[in-house]
């Protein structure tokens, strides 16, 4: 697609809310210090990144922009250099929503930055490490390396429950683990299966992966790819008569399937989408889940997509507080004000460790690129801020609900010599079940 076509197709999707994001900013800069990438370089403050989209919008959609051009901050990308600058800006964002909650005018710069990713994708400039993965996800034909990671996780889960896994059966609860979990945190799949088995629920899971991290099209701005993958997931749950799709990954897949799916498919899914924290909290509140208590120094890290993006703030805390008298919140902000780990929305996949893991599984399909190497430096600044905050809390264990956060925090802890460890809540609770 040409640059002009890409821009016009993206601007066609401007609705009143995006129009407000595009037009309402007063350039006060208050969103700046809340962005995890601001500390890598001031130019990555949310408003400055989003301004790239405003330049384009003004030029294409306002009278003043068309007539007065750059005088009123209206311009289109002219050459490769401009597009590369836009791509750099677009990939210094984890879509964490913190800028949204801290803008006095309720402007979500991350949404405009995702529009930039759409343009970049439509002109064919998405970093190749992501495009390769997305194409694999859309095709549904997963290479052997990925399938063996999936099979290994399922084998471990089967051994853990000492019986057959309920694969591809009709059930009320359809557990949907993703390939990315099998790669980054296979223990989360194993421990979720153990929990579901122990709680004696009517559940099942797919024998083959439905997606890598649905939808990779979301994080790179490919709407068609997103739709294909969402449809596959909805069809699977429907055909297995699921009343609810259960997720253990509290990152983009949870927020997207829970809150964005109707916008993508044009209708609501005929089942609920729930995170395992919701299921456990409901059972705990109804007295169906008993938990033991001890004194481990533990904290909860709010995954952005679960807290700001998903509203699950109190639920995990109730569960963890029931297990430990030494629970403490993170010092710099929780829930709506929690600090992003710096790894979401594809960033950790493009960072060195993520690319190395994928290269091992996919062979030469994933090549390293200069772009990803530069991103790594900025990503590590954000990661360091997060692990420093966890260290300040004095917690020995940081519990969370998202595989990307676990991977990113543990990587940061190792890199910066921290003593604590990040685990998923399903893994943490294993020790507290009677």
């Amino acid at each position: 697609m040409s640059v002009q076509e890409a821009i016009r197709s993206v601007l066609r999707e401007v609705d009143p809310v995006r129009l407000h994001y595009l037009e309402g900013c007063v350039s006060c800069g208050l969103c700046g210090p809340h962005c995890p990438f601001y500390y890598a370089d001031v130019k990555y403050e949310p408003v400055n990144k989003a301004e790239e989209m405003r330049f384009i919008y003004r030029k294409e959609m306002t009278f003043a922009g068309k007539i007065l051009g750059e005088l009123v901050g209206a311009k289109l990308p002219r050459d490769k250099e401009d597009l590369e600058r836009i791509r750099e800006m677009a990939y210094r964002c984890t879509n964490c929503r913190y800028c949204y909650q801290t803008c006095p005018l309720g402007i979500y710069s991350g949404e405009l930055i995702m529009m930039l990713r759409q343009i970049i994708d439509r002109v064919g400039m998405t970093p190749s490490c992501l495009t390769v993965l997305k194409d694999v996800e859309v095709s549904g034909n997963f290479p052997n390396g990925l399938i063996s990671a999936w099979n290994e996780a399922l084998k471990r889960a089967q051994e853990a429950i000492g019986g057959e896994l309920p694969l591809d059966r009709p059930a009320d609860l359809i557990y949907l683990p993703w390939l990315i979990e099998a790669i980054l945190t296979p223990e989360v799949i194993v421990d979720t299966v153990k929990l579901l088995d122990k709680l004696n629920l009517n559940w099942s899971m797919p024998s083959k992966p439905l997606a890598i991290e649905p939808a990779l099209g979301t994080i790179m701005g490919d709407k068609k790819a997103r739709k294909v993958v969402f449809k596959r997931i909805v069809d699977y749950v429907k055909s297995h008569k699921g009343k609810a799709a259960l997720l253990s990954h509290g990152g983009t897949p949870y927020m997207d399937l829970r809150f964005e799916l109707p916008f993508v498919l044009g209708e609501r899914a005929p089942f609920k989408v729930i995170h395992v924290v919701e299921l456990l909290h409901e059972m705990y509140s109804e007295g169906k889940l008993n938990l033991k208590q001890d004194g481990v120094k533990v904290t909860w890290h709010d995954p952005c997509k679960m807290a700001r993006g998903g509203g699950l703030i109190e639920e995990p805390r109730h569960l963890i507080k029931a297990t430990s008298k030494q629970y403490r919140d993170l010092p710099k902000g929780i829930g709506m004000y929690s600090h992003c780990c710096g790894g979401g929305t594809g960033i950790s996949l493009m960072a060195e460790e993520g690319r190395r893991m994928l290269r091992e599984l996919l062979g030469e399909l994933i090549s390293s690129a200069k772009f990803c190497e530069e991103l790594e430096k900025d990503h590590l600044v954000a990661v360091k801020n997060k692990v420093d905050e966890i260290e300040e809390s004095g917690a020995e264990l940081v519990v969370t609900g998202c595989s990307t956060c676990i991977h990113t925090i543990n990587k940061g802890a190792k890199k910066f010599g921290k003593e604590f460890k990040a685990v998923h809540i399903v893994s943490y609770l294993q020790d507290y079940l009677p």
Binding site: D15, P16, E23, H34, K43, Q101, C103, G106, G266, G311
Partner: protein, 261 residues
């Protein structure tokens, strides 16, 4: 000449142009609206929702107070809360002005702020009854001794200093940090605001000279530049004051209610 032009010739055109701009801007919002399927709301208690409704209007301010202290002090507190908003809506001259065109505004006259500390005694001990066709006690305010600080002079100086600071801040952002988000629109909006504040202050104090002609010219410039702001309002960042702040915050409330924060 300038005064007559501003008061008698430009007032209605400026309101008409503002109305046109307002309709144009709002219609863009209406025309981009599309009906779509929406996700199921997460259930939360009503009390939580009520709290979030209020919290949404203040949490960004709290976040600014924690992480951007200077911007919070200068931009939000001094420029908005202490400066422009009370000056525009409550300075006694402005209360009279608003009331002339919109008589129910008189109801706010008990909140009117005097122009200077020296006139504060009037508000408590001797409320003035101006002799004119629209005469009412607009200086009979409730602020009492507080007017020693809560007066036009102090608030105008605060607003002028804060606006000048904001201008300097934008220069630093542009020159030192080379931030592309700072543009010509930012500078022109702040310069216009500064001009209105300075001419208002000068007119009140009959500066630079005490003769009637100069006074009327400076006051005329003050009114004319304010009318220019009114005309430009729907097309500039000043629109946040009329629309974007309210739309943004109400949408945010809707969004966090839906997600069940």
């Amino acid at each position: 000449m300038i005064y007559e032009f501003a008061v008698y010739d430009m007032f209605l055109p400026s309101i008409a142009l503002f109305t046109f701009g307002l309709i144009y801007r709002l219609s863009r919002y209406a025309f981009t609206y599309r009906k779509t399927a929406r996700p199921e709301w997460r259930k939360r208690p009503l009390a939580r929702r009520a709290f979030l409704l209020i919290d949404s209007f203040i949490h960004a301010i709290i976040a600014a107070a924690k992480k951007s202290r200077v911007d919070f002090l200068v931009g939000l507190l001094v420029l908005h809360t202490l400066g422009v908003i009370p000056l525009l809506f409550l300075l006694s001259h402005h209360v009279a002005w608003w009331s002339y065109y919109f008589p129910p505004y008189q109801a706010l006259s008990f909140l009117a702020i005097p122009t200077s500390a020296t006139s504060s005694s009037l508000t408590v001990t001797a409320p003035l009854q101006p002799v004119s066709g629209m005469s009412f006690k607009f200086v009979n305010t409730i602020w009492g001794p507080l007017t020693v600080v809560l007066n036009g002079d102090v608030l105008a100086v605060l607003a002028i200093v804060a606006t000048a600071f904001k201008l300097a801040d934008r220069v630093v952002a542009k020159v030192k940090h080379r931030l592309q988000r700072v543009n010509w629109g930012d500078f022109s909006a702040l310069i216009l605001l500064l001009f209105i504040l300075v001419t208002g202050y000068m007119a009140t104090h009959h500066l630079p000279f005490g003769d009637v002609v100069t006074y009327k010219n400076v006051l005329g410039l003050h009114i004319l530049s304010a009318e220019l702001l009114v005309i430009l309002l729907p097309f500039t960042k000043f629109f946040h004051f009329v629309f974007n702040f309210w739309f943004g915050k109400l949408h945010e409330v809707y969004d966090i209610w839906r997600r069940g924060l």
